[in-house]
């Protein structure tokens, strides 16, 4: 028993200890304010130097707690979920590595070591998406995630370069205090802001770089919950929130951020409406919710964005884990059209899923309502148009969530697997997360009663309409290729790059350059051939040539002396 689970237990214990540390850190920050720990100098070149250090303030302590808390629950869950996988040791190793890099990301006191974590979580994401490496599609999905993240990372790096050129440092304190001295709209600051945002679009799956996230669902479900819902994808949000001092100086960039977020929310929600794979629905939902957060950041609602990030971490992790429980019970099946009626077969899973679903749709007592409310409020103050669009997205959210719930848990079971409830080790973390998802909102209990009434009635109507459509009589409206940007990217970017690559390799390398080299060689050989004819064997001619050459050299020397 222990032997089988020791890797998982050890990994979970590590994260649990970190969670305890995070609580104490949070309390200390709460009581005495932010503090920094200097570790050691990383490298210094000229007067530019980077050191390793930890920064604990409210933001990083919150992230610290969230990452380790959710991470711990997911670790526990994974012990059950991965119990018969032969490579589970490696799995927990990767998970712990992920926690390490995520903490590097959120606790760093400078942008460069933050970038270390940033790349590190991308690496772990790659490893975990491609965890089942015998499936080639999974490997391709992993590679896609990594490469698309690298596109964003290039933006991040360039942003760092401009930052170093402008401020001569990557230290948060120095950068932000020096940025404060610059005027609003200063070109360097705008450039930094826009380039860092490119990085965030990669990591936080914003338009146009979000297509890796749905593919990333190839990884084991706890990975989807931890990395691709709760923590890693919020890194972009964290980074923008962290550097709000810079963004505050670039209002035009903030507008871009707002509308990118809104567009992402719309696209994600629309695509989620037509998916058949339970995890893909949740993935697009994550894209859409991240769009909400980014839009909030764009509207200057940093607190709202972070609040939603925390509640989203709870309820989306919950949803993913519950979906994992469903998949586990269904024996690996992910197609919702083959599920149905699971509420009786998996009652605990159903209950917690429902909590998560309600929180995601923004139903009042649950956390999602409060955070989404905060976001909408923040956006309304900046752009009523964006506000209107996002209201529409909220409606779409409620629809796809309802569709998901009804397809999976209501109606008859549409396949002949023997469904069983998941073991306790999986359901206990679910219950914990459900409690958190339900109650996390009360820490920020500011709301309008009007909103409550409107939301509840709208939700009731949506659920009533969708019930008949997906629970009573299943309407098969799946459309997995719907609005697939992948096709576009493949046609517009990937394929041309490969064509250019092959063209360079065949036309340029093998034809032009090789022919040029060959021609050069041929010319030399041919001139040798023609010079050879001068070597006639006639001694008289040689003597004449010697004399003439001496004459030429001597006269040449007198004309052009060295």
């Amino acid at each position: 028993m222990i032997k089988k689970y020791w890797s998982g237990i050890a990994a979970s214990l590590v994260v649990f200890c970190l969670f305890l540390v995070s609580i104490s850190v949070f309390l200390r920050v709460y009581q005495t304010g932010p503090f920094e720990i200097y570790l050691f100098n990383w490298f210094s070149v000229g007067d530019f130097s980077v050191s390793w250090g930890l920064l604990f303030d409210t933001l990083s302590a919150l992230m610290f707690m969230m990452v380790t808390g959710v991470g711990f629950l997911i670790h526990i869950y994974s012990i059950g979920y991965m119990h018969d996988d032969p490579n589970r040791g490696r799995f927990f190793w990767y998970l712990n590595l992920f926690i390490f890099f995520m903490l590097t990301l959120v606790l760093s006191n400078n942008f460069l070591s933050m970038f270390v974590g940033w790349e590190g979580v991308g690496l772990c994401s790659y490893l975990l998406i491609g965890f089942w490496s015998s499936n080639k599609d999974y490997l391709i999905a992993a590679k896609k995630a990594f490469v698309m993240n690298r596109i964003g990372d290039l933006g991040f790096i360039l942003g760092l370069l401009v930052m170093i050129l402008t401020f001569g440092s990557v230290q948060f304190g120095i950068v932000f205090s020096q940025a404060g001295l610059l005027p609003i709209g200063h070109i360097s600051v705008v450039l930094i802001a826009i380039l860092l945002f490119v990085g965030a679009t990669g990591k936080s799956a914003q338009l146009p770089l979000f297509t890796w996230l749905p593919d990333a669902m190839a990884g084991p479900t706890p990975v989807s919950a931890l990395i691709h819902a709760a923590t890693m994808v919020t890194a972009g949000i964290y980074m923008i929130a962290r550097s709000h001092a810079i963004y505050a100086l670039a209002p035009d960039v903030l507008t871009v951020v707002l509308w990118v977020g809104v567009a992402t929310a719309v696209v994600g929600a629309i695509i989620a409406l037509r998916q058949s794979d339970i995890k893909k629905v949740l993935a697009y939902s994550t894209v859409s919710q991240l769009g909400f957060m980014v839009a909030a950041l764009g509207a200057g609602g940093t607190h709202a964005a972070l609040f939603h990030m925390v509640t989203h971490a709870f309820f989306k992790a919950l949803l993913f884990l519950a979906a994992g429980s469903v998949i586990h019970g269904m024996g690996g099946e992910q197609n919702m059209y083959k599920m149905g009626g699971l509420r009786k077969l998996q009652p605990i899973t159903f209950a917690v899923f429902l909590v998560g679903a309600l929180a995601l749709s923004g139903c009042p007592p649950f956390s999602g309502f409060f955070s989404k409310d905060a976001i909408l409020l923040a956006i309304y103050q900046v752009s009523p148009w964006a506000f209107g669009v996002l209201i529409g997205v909220s409606v779409l959210t409620a629809i796809y969530v309802a569709r998901l719930v009804f397809l999976v848990f209501f109606g008859p079971l549409r396949s002949d697997v023997h469904v069983h409830e998941s073991p306790l080790i999986m359901t206990i973390p679910l219950v914990f997360l459900a409690v958190l998802a339900a109650t996390a909102g009360i820490y920020h209990p500011e709301f309008e009663w009007v909103m409550v009434i409107i939301t509840v009635s709208a939700l009731a109507m949506i659920w009533w309409v969708t019930y008949s459509r997906y629970a009573v009589q299943v309407k098969d409206d799946r459309s997995d290729g719907f609005m697939s940007l992948d096709v576009v990217y493949s046609a517009v970017i990937v394929r041309p790059i490969l064509v250019i690559a092959r063209g360079l390799s065949t036309v340029m390398d093998q034809i032009v350059l090789d022919t040029a080299a060959k021609e050069l060689g041929q010319t030399v050989v041919q001139s040798g051939e023609s010079l050879r004819r001068m070597q006639s064997g006639s001694i008289g001619f040689y003597l004449w040539m010697i004399t003439a050459s001496v004459a030429v050299i001597l006269i040449g020397l007198s004309i052009w002396p060295f």
Binding site: V116, V147, A501
Partner: protein, 424 residues
């Protein structure tokens, strides 16, 4: 005296190998060179301790010392990991001797002599131990490199005529007019660009690496290509600073184009060695870009990247056989990460500082060069995944190969966390 011993040691190893035909001689000699170079690095006063035999044309500069240590370490790795015949190991030690000469020479004539001396054993290595169409490949290798050598020789003779001296110090002291600096710049660019190689002088490189046995590829990619970079840092930058500054947009443009070109071509290549070779062109070009940005950051980054690239590419070629064991897949993956410049590897320090150096000149060039970060990751991950999912796998690694791989990987990562050792 110590320097003389250092220069002579590989040669003694060559003769020892030819006489006794035991690979342990090679191991012992290369281990001894590592110890000696490290001691020289630690106690530079040893160089002037025995003044009775002085070599006025040889000296150890900080960059030269780094190259010496790198050379001896990589040669030790190659020798330890190889199971090749004594003749082959003798060739490797012969090349090492020539490399030591290049890295110590403070005199154009000696520099050129040792530079050429690397070619002869290299040529015979291809001819004797290559696979495939080796005669054609060897001749092509030789012709390309001789064109470079010819350019180098022309420049050296020109500088001699200008200064009546072969000493580097005299060359640096002589102020050349801009017009002649441009010609020197072109000559040296061709000479070092072929060695590195840069696009469009690169066509000899992929097939040469492909044709060579594993140890040979490690040596060529890890050390011989560094001759070009060393020359750029040692000769080009101090000799023609004015011309480089004036024509920086063009020179840097060519080099950045070379980075992009090679990164793209790597996507179209097939076969482990060819992909690694092509990515290696991209990395080498990035290195050159760091130098030609002519900023302190870029040059520092290039120096870090020299170390990074040598370690990474040697480790990559070492892992070249298709292996299915988890240990080697893991090792290969760690090396691939080093190759794509993930943070915490020395490759990241190099690439970041190079990009920083370029961006101090122009952010657009930095962005263009940075695209190789994406394309390189794409190519290397494709490569890794093809190894991961291939079903071949017969080669068993020996214990000493294990040690070498682990050491190289450890070096890549430890230097990534504590890079101040290589930032000279």
């Amino acid at each position: 005296m110590a320097l003389l011993a250092l220069l002579a040691l590989p040669l003694i190893g060559v003769f020892g190998l030819l006489i006794f035909k035991s690979r342990w001689i090679a191991v012992a000699v290369s281990a001894l060179t590592v110890v000696m170079t490290v001691i020289i690095g630690r106690y530079p006063e040893l160089l002037s301790f025995f003044t009775s035999i002085s070599l006025p044309s040889f000296a150890v500069t900080p960059l030269g010392l780094l190259m010496l240590i790198l050379t001896s370490v990589i040669v030790l790795a190659i020798v330890l990991a190889s199971d090749d015949s004594p003749g082959f190991l003798a060739i490797i030690l012969g090349i090492q001797a020539a490399l030591f000469g290049v890295f110590c020479a403070q005199n154009g004539l000696l520099f050129y002599m040792f530079w050429e001396l690397t070619l002869i054993p290299a040529f015979f290595m291809i001819l004797g131990w290559g696979t495939g169409d080796k005669v054609r490949i060897a001749i092509r290798f030789l012709l390309y490199n001789l064109v470079g050598s010819f350019a180098l020789l022309t420049v050296i003779l020109y500088l001699f005529l200008q200064t009546h001296s072969f000493a580097f110090t005299d060359w640096m002291a002589a102020p050349l007019p801009l017009a002649s600096q441009v010609w020197v710049l072109i000559g040296l660019f061709v000479a070092f660009g072929i060695k590195l190689p840069l696009v469009p002088f690169h066509r000899w490189q992929p097939e040469t690496y492909e044709c060579l046995p594993r140890s040979g590829s490690m040596l060529f990619s890890g050390l011989l290509s560094k001759l070009g970079v060393y020359g750029m840092l040692m000769l080009m930058v101090p000799l023609v600073p004015h011309a480089l500054l004036v024509y920086r947009p063009i020179v840097l443009g060519i080099v950045v184009m070379s980075v992009l070109y090679a990164s793209l071509v790597a996507l179209a290549e097939t076969g482990f060695k060819r992909i690694v070779a092509t990515v290696s062109i991209a990395h080498g070009s990035l290195l050159a870009a760091g130098i030609f940005a002519l900023t302190p950051m870029g040059i520092q980054g290039s120096i870090a990247q020299i170390v990074a690239h040598s370690l990474v590419v040697a480790a990559l070629f070492l892992c070249e056989p298709r292996i299915r064991s988890h240990f080697y897949l893991g090792a290969l993956f760690l090396v691939v990460l080093g190759s794509i410049g993930l943070p915490l590897t020395i490759g990241f320090i190099g690439e970041f500082l190079i990009l920083l150096g370029i961006s101090q000149f122009s952010l657009v060039y930095a962005g263009l060069a940075g695209i190789s970060v994406i394309l390189g990751a794409w190519a290397m991950l494709t490569l890794y995944q093809s190894v991961q999912s291939s079903t071949e796998g017969t080669y068993e690694f020996s214990f000493s190969e294990d040690i070498v791989v682990i050491t190289l990987i450890a070096a890549i990562y430890i230097l990534g966390i504590f890079p101040s050792v290589v930032l000279i």
